[in-house]
Amino acid sequence: MAQPKEPDKLLFTDRGRIGKQVVLPWNKSIEICVGSIKTRLGRSIVTLLGIVLAIAFLMSILTNRVMIDNLVAQNDENITLLLQVKAGVDVHDATSVEHKRQQDMWLLTLSMLVALVGIVNSMLMSVTERFREIGTMKCLGALDAFIVRLFFIESTIQGVVGTLIGIPIGFMLTYVRMGISFGFGTFDYAPLLGWTAINIAICLVIGTFLAVVAAWWPARTAAQMQPVEAMRVEE
């Protein structure tokens, strides 16, 4: 496809050889994306909510698991009894504990998939809304890569912000519920804190990953738009 070109054919009157001379600096990209998110707050919040809910659910399940493990590890007769009554966990029955875990994982996977589809949908709509804007940018000299980058940055920002909101929501819901059931003083807080830090890291990774994966298809669709689209009168 790449045909060799004679350089003199590419001489524009005053600027010499042309090549990758069109640029969009990163700080400017981020500035554009932040502006775009702010102006289209409604749409952004819908995307954000998908991530917030998914991450809150993830964090809640992870925290629940850590707190139960925490109680089991204390190996106290009263707590073991409470666990069986209030959480349906039979410490002496390893298969039932394992079974419950598998159920949780299955639920988690499903909910992450649902969230992914939701975010893709919301991003695709925001691409459709912006057909003319994207076409115009291309007329002004934007490369496909600029458009892809803008959508990825926007999506990543939404992913990180959504995750940061979702984590405390998921954590607090589970922590308060478990605290009320078992008493806030029952837990062994040193390991609990350590595990929560790990859970937060897991959530951040998964939340950002979800947003970036969800942006891939819409961003590609947007980048492949022809600049002529900008000329169309009707949207």
Binding site: I18, V22, V23, I32, G35, E133, M137, A230, M231, V233
Partner: protein
């Protein structure tokens, strides 16, 4: 009437040393036997059936023609937005069919300014940001771009509305921002697609006056596709396209309508 307007086509291989007269008549856009064929299912539609013409630096050109005449197709082609099925389009002596994606983007960024019927400002950006965007693409630093953007907006009479967003501006004001944006990188050509199509008579006249002013003061070539007869008075030449071919080319002097009888409301 039309015949004496068509300039004799100069030889394609111009000598390295041009005379002053030839430089004045430097063809900024040349099309040679341009055809465009669309295939829709089993049917093929010939939107352009061999268009050959030259547009010279500093001219103000209007392309007129009924819808479906191939006017828009031709217009997109000289704007580097579409490639011909046959024939060649040269913009500033560069065959656009030979350009890759980067070079096309560069061409759009630095050589051509676009003005649209629907203004097409980026809604999330202020007037100034809209004007500076092409400069950012062109590699200008933020400070330089801000100064130049403010200067351009001043030129189109919006010096006090730099921070307004498009929805806070009237149609005419938005189109002025678009004109300022099209001039961002000192292009050789401004392509205006029905620039007055969404504007009322008075505002449309103002826009035409600004375009004419830019044409005279900055020497930028202006090519408009239009239905607006107000535009004729401002044009150096009018190219009529019908059924995918150039029907006739008229110079302003030969137009029936006298300059001044149109757009009287602006006075």
């Amino acid at each position: 009437m039309a015949k004496n307007n068509q300039k004799t086509v100069q030889s394609d291989n111009q000598p390295a040393t041009q005379t002053a007269a030839e430089q004045i008549n430097h063809a900024i856009v040349r099309s040679r036997n341009v055809k465009k064929i669309y295939t829709m299912g089993a049917e093929t539609v010939e939107a352009l059936r061999g268009v050959t013409l030259e547009i010279y630096q500093g001219e103000y050109i209007s392309i007129m023609g009924p819808s479906g005449s191939g006017k828009s197709t031709f217009f997109n082609m000289i704007g580097g937005l579409d490639k011909p099925s046959e024939g060649q389009v040269f913009i500033d002596e560069v065959d656009i069919a030979q350009l890759d994606a980067y070079e096309l983007a560069w061409l759009r960024c630095r050589k051509i300014g676009y003005i649209f019927q629907t203004f097409n400002l980026i809604p999330v950006m202020s007037a100034l940001e809209n004007v500076t965007l092409p400069m950012v693409f062109g590699g200008m630093t933020s400070d330089e771009a801000r100064d130049k953007g403010a200067e351009l907006l001043g030129k189109v009479g919006l010096g006090t509305r730099l921070q307004h967003r498009p929805f806070e501006l009237s149609g005419g004001q938005q189109q002025r921002v678009a004109i300022a944006r099209s001039l961002a990188n000192d292009p050789a050509i401004i392509l205006a697609d029905e620039p007055t199509g969404n504007l009322d008579l008075k505002t449309g006249t103002e826009i035409i006056e600004i375009l004419k002013k830019m044409n005279k003061e900055m020497g930028v070539t202006i090519i408009t596709a239009t239905h607006d007869h107000k535009m004729l008075a401002a044009s150096d030449r009018v190219i009529w396209i019908r059924d995918g071919q150039v029907e006739r080319i008229e110079r302003r002097e030969d137009l029936q309508i006298q300059v001044g009888t149109i757009g009287g409301e602006a006075e």
